[in-house]
């Protein structure tokens, strides 16, 4: 039986970690637990449930800043921002559907702390960055049972090391965040999407590179091959679609839509999606919709980050029986493997190594995740450095031990 400790405030988080330290217990650090199934299976005694730390503590739209307790649901923050025509520009994806979670009960959308700890992002990654790029300040309890703060509530800050960066994407292995401050940005007035139909993967990567290398200020670029295109919303045809999103004020979007359509015409037939279709399409890209269906969910899912223009070369080295699509102009490839219990890590890692980048096994049976490397294995010197960083924050390994790397 796993016990759950649910602190009511930051002080109790510190108490919990100190207690765990003095009793040699390991803690699973969780918000709503929406991403619990990502990483190596937890080898912990007790869950430190941070979903009780909720509430927006500061929001100043004109200063583009918002602070919240780490367990505040993302949906609550996004709703508040929307009221003020603002948003989290990093467009955090929701892993819930891919992992088979149903909204309601405990899980709604994950928490802001979880979004940061997993360094979430979305299609706008190519323009606006990931959670790390919007993470301004924090309070957190380290694995030493000490409450630290870093950063602040201002965008421009180089005072001391940027601890926000190293905690973003650390999957709760360094510290349990209690309070976070993020940069928020105005929501674009409108959007539209330019689609080129019928491209193979290599031509699609070339088309996306041309679009992103233009002054059209593309805010999302995805290639949806024909074997998965029908799963996405907003597309009129079940054909391979290479989609480029434009956001901004209406006169600007109108102008750039025409410019981009002209630029892409040599690649293939071009069609335009209006604002409603565009929003629907990118929502389904953000939620990795083809691989969130019940039948797809039994299959291992890889997330590959690579050099965008070479995405097709990575994909070509992967078994043709896998299903896949590209986001980030080719730099992010979602790959669903054909067989439930076979992530085929060796071939995926070899494919990535041929170009550069890394692969993460986002979804697989617990037994598979326990035996395979979920995150990309590192060169010895880098692995040793990462281990020393873990020790700097959590020398006894009380916070999510072994979640990213066995024994760390």
């Amino acid at each position: 039986m796993t016990d759950i400790l649910k602190p009511r405030d930051a002080k109790e988080v510190e108490d919990a970690v100190r207690w765990a330290l003095s009793h040699d217990k390991a803690l699973e650090v969780a918000g709503q637990g929406s991403k619990r199934a990502i990483g190596r299976p937890s080898q912990t005694d007790i869950t430190l449930d941070l979903s009780g730390l909720t509430g927006v503590t500061l929001y100043e739209p004109a200063e583009l800043v918002l602070s919240a307790r780490a367990g505040t649901p993302l949906s609550e923050i996004e709703a508040l921002l929307e009221k003020n025509h603002q948003e989290l520009a990093f467009e955090p994806m929701d892993y819930g559907p891919v992992l088979g979670l149903k909204a309601g009960q405990n899980y709604t959308s994950g928490t802001i702390g979880g979004a940061i700890a997993a360094n979430l992002s979305g299609p706008r990654r190519i323009k606006a960055g990931a959670a790390r790029d919007h993470f301004l300040g924090l309070s957190a309890v380290t694995g030493r049972g000490e409450t630290i703060k870093s950063g602040g509530r201002v965008v421009k800050n180089v005072t001391g090391y940027d601890m926000c960066k190293v905690l973003a994407g650390s999957w709760g292995t360094l510290a349990a965040m209690t309070d976070v401050t993020v940069k928020v940005l105005p929501r674009a007035e409108t959007q539209a999407t330019v689609v080129v139909e019928g491209l193979d993967d290599a031509s699609a990567c070339a088309a996306m590179a041309a679009a992103m290398g233009s002054s059209c200020d593309v805010s999302a670029a995805a290639h949806l091959p024909d074997h998965v295109a029908s799963y996405f919303d907003g597309l009129p045809n079940a054909e391979a679609a290479t989609a480029l999103r434009l956001e901004g004020v209406a006169p600007s979007v109108r102008h750039r839509k025409d410019a981009l359509a002209a630029l892409l015409k040599p690649f293939g037939p071009v069609l335009l999606l209006d604002e409603t279709e565009s929003r629907a399409l990118w929502r389904s890209v953000r939620q990795v919709k083809p691989f969130a269906t019940e039948s797809a969910r039994v299959r291992p899912l890889w997330r590959i980050s690579t050099a965008p223009a070479r995405g097709h070369a990575v994909a070509a080295a992967i078994t043709p029986a896998a299903q896949m699509f590209y986001d980030w102009g080719g730099g992010l490839i979602w790959v669903a493997m054909p067989f439930g219990d076979e992530p085929d890590a060796a071939s995926i890692r070899a494919a990535v190594a041929s170009v550069g980048g890394h692969a993460t096994l986002i979804r697989a049976e617990a037994a598979v995740r326990a035996s395979a490397d979920v995150f990309e294995p590192q060169e010895p010197a880098l692995a040793a450095l990462s281990k020393r960083v873990k020790d700097a924050f959590d020398p006894k390994g009380v916070l999510n031990p072994g979640r990213m790397v066995a024994g760390v």
Binding site: E14, R187, A209, S214, G356, L385, V389, A392
Partner: protein, 497 residues
């Protein structure tokens, strides 16, 4: 100088000849500089109030040499201070009497320009502007543009996480660097990131940006390059008070507009600049705001109109929209010449660098006026208004008895105020030696020790750039000890399920 540096290690000073000899076996010929006359140009950086000759200067040319120099110094317990172009305004590259100064100027090659992936791979000694110049023929540029961009290097930009006037919209260095090759103090060479967008494992690249040369020596950097906007236009707006100017900035952002740049100057700065550059700035205003918009013509025209409307509602006294590229550059010529313009009217000046929540601007400016009277020193302000980054310039004369000290006290009081109103000590210039002793104003001992433990993970002997950033140095072994208190309870009094 009023900041004390770590005491020089007499044993190292005594071994100087042997150390120089050993370094010459790693870096041949003119790559090791050991005469006082030739070392003189390295004695300070952009913070010229602080000077110190190094033990020896080494100018390596290859990653292998950097690795061997660091491994040797690690084994021998010799300190190392890395240096790019030496434009730091906070003393980040100030040498140590008993330390090797590792100059990275010879790492000046652009290794790869990859337009398809929109990245450039450059060595750290390449200047910021050279990156933009190298990709300009295809319409690209490198976004971060610190005002020293003609001289400062990418390696130094990474160390300081440099900003510039356009970082409100395009981010700081950390948002524009995708990868680096890093040599650790023990000689290990690691690669972080690459041409892909996401870090694997811990985001160590994010730690390196802004680490002020304390964590490792960067030998290669992969930066994002962007396609230039179709067009740029600027609006020059004058206000009867800085409060009105500040309100206008807030109103622009509240309207959902993120300009490419938004810069403010106060009256003393406007006058100093206008005398120097003749940019046509109005002299009867208390605050002057430059708002620059970039993008397609249709977008810029649309947004300029909205900005002008907002300015009218914010009590603006003057409002001029640039009608030509020449006029736009003239608007900027004044702002960009602010530091030298102030240099003309005062023998010396300190440039401060606090960031504040923008709503606190009127309060902070008023307090600075009082401080100016109290210390008997003039102060001019330029301000990255969009992101709240203040650059008060404190004017003093180092030849006048006690003025340096008064100027430093004045600066410290400004920075303490920045922290007190919810801001930070430094927005883009770094802590270095200049603000080192103010770190406890912003951080507790626990916070600072946590940061120093990160330092220990990279540099277990504390040999890389010691005496910068942290006011009190601890041995890593001492920091590693655990003192658990409050954990004795049989069970914490927290709800359980």
């Amino acid at each position: 100088m009023s900041v004390r540096m770590p005491e020089a290690d007499g044993a190292v000073l005594a071994r100087r000849a042997a150390i120089v000899k050993a370094l010459r076996t790693i870096v041949p010929g003119e790559g090791v500089i050991a005469t006082e006359r030739e070392m003189r140009p390295f004695e300070s950086d952009g913070l010229t109030a602080y000077r110190q000759l190094p033990l020896v200067v080494v100018l390596p040319e290859t990653t292998k040499q950097v690795s061997e120099v660091l491994a040797y110094c690690h084994a021998e317990g010799v300190k190392v201070v890395p240096r790019g172009a030496g434009t730091s305004l906070s003393g980040g590259a100030l040498p140590l009497e008993d330390g090797v100064l590792l100059g990275m100027a010879k790492f000046n090659r652009i290794k790869d320009i990859d337009f398809a992936n929109r990245v450039a791979v450059v060595e750290p000694g390449v200047t910021n502007l050279a990156v933009s110049n190298a990709v300009a023929h295809a319409g690209f540029y490198y976004a971060p543009d610190p005002s020293s961009q003609i001289a400062c290097t990418i390696g130094g930009n990474v160390a300081e996480n440099s900003g510039g006037v356009h970082c409100l919209k395009y981010g700081m260095t950390t948002n524009n660097v995708l990868g680096c090759e890093l040599v650790l103090m023990n000689g290990d060479v690691v690669r972080l990131g690459g041409k892909h967008l996401d870090a694997e494992g811990y985001d160590l690249l994010g730690l390196i940006n802004g680490s002020e040369g304390l964590l490792g020596v960067v030998t290669e950097v992969t930066v994002r390059i962007l396609q230039k906007a179709e067009t740029q236009r600027a609006v020059l707006i004058g206000f009867p008070s800085s409060e009105d100017g500040g309100e206008c900035v807030s109103a622009i952002i509240a309207a959902g507009i993120i300009p490419a740049g938004m810069e403010m100057m106060d009256r003393p700065a406007i006058h100093a600049v206008e005398e120097f550059v003749h940019a046509g700035y109005p002299l009867d205003v208390e605050a002057l705001l430059i708002v620059e918009l970039d993008g397609p013509q249709a977008e810029v025209d649309h947004l300029i109109e909205r900005v002008v409307d907002i300015a009218k509602q914010c009590k603006s006294m003057t409002c001029r929209v640039s009608a030509s590229e020449q006029e736009r550059l003239l608007f900027w010529a004044g702002r960009k010449a602010a530091f030298p313009a102030v240099g003309r009217i005062s023998p010396d000046y300190f440039c401060m660098d606090g960031t504040i929540p923008r709503s606190q601007l009127p309060k902070v400016l008023a307090a600075m006026k009082d401080m100016s009277a109290k210390y008997g020193l003039r102060c001019a302000n330029v301000f990255h208004a969009g992101d709240g980054n203040l650059h008060p310039l404190i004017l003093y004369d180092s030849n006048k008895e006690g003025e340096v000290e008064r100027a430093e006290e004045f600066g410290a009081e400004i920075l303490k105020l920045c922290v007190a109103v919810g801001g930070v000590l430094t927005g883009e210039h770094g802590v270095g030696v200049e603000k080192r002793d103010l770190m406890p104003v912003m951080f507790s001992e626990i916070d600072l020790n946590a940061q120093q433990r990160v330092k220990c993970a990279f540099d277990d002997k504390g040999l890389l750039n010691p005496g910068k950033v942290f006011p009190v140095l601890h041995r890593c072994a001492e920091l590693g000890r655990m003192h658990i208190s409050g954990g004795k309870l049989p069970f914490p009094d927290i709800p359980r399920f």
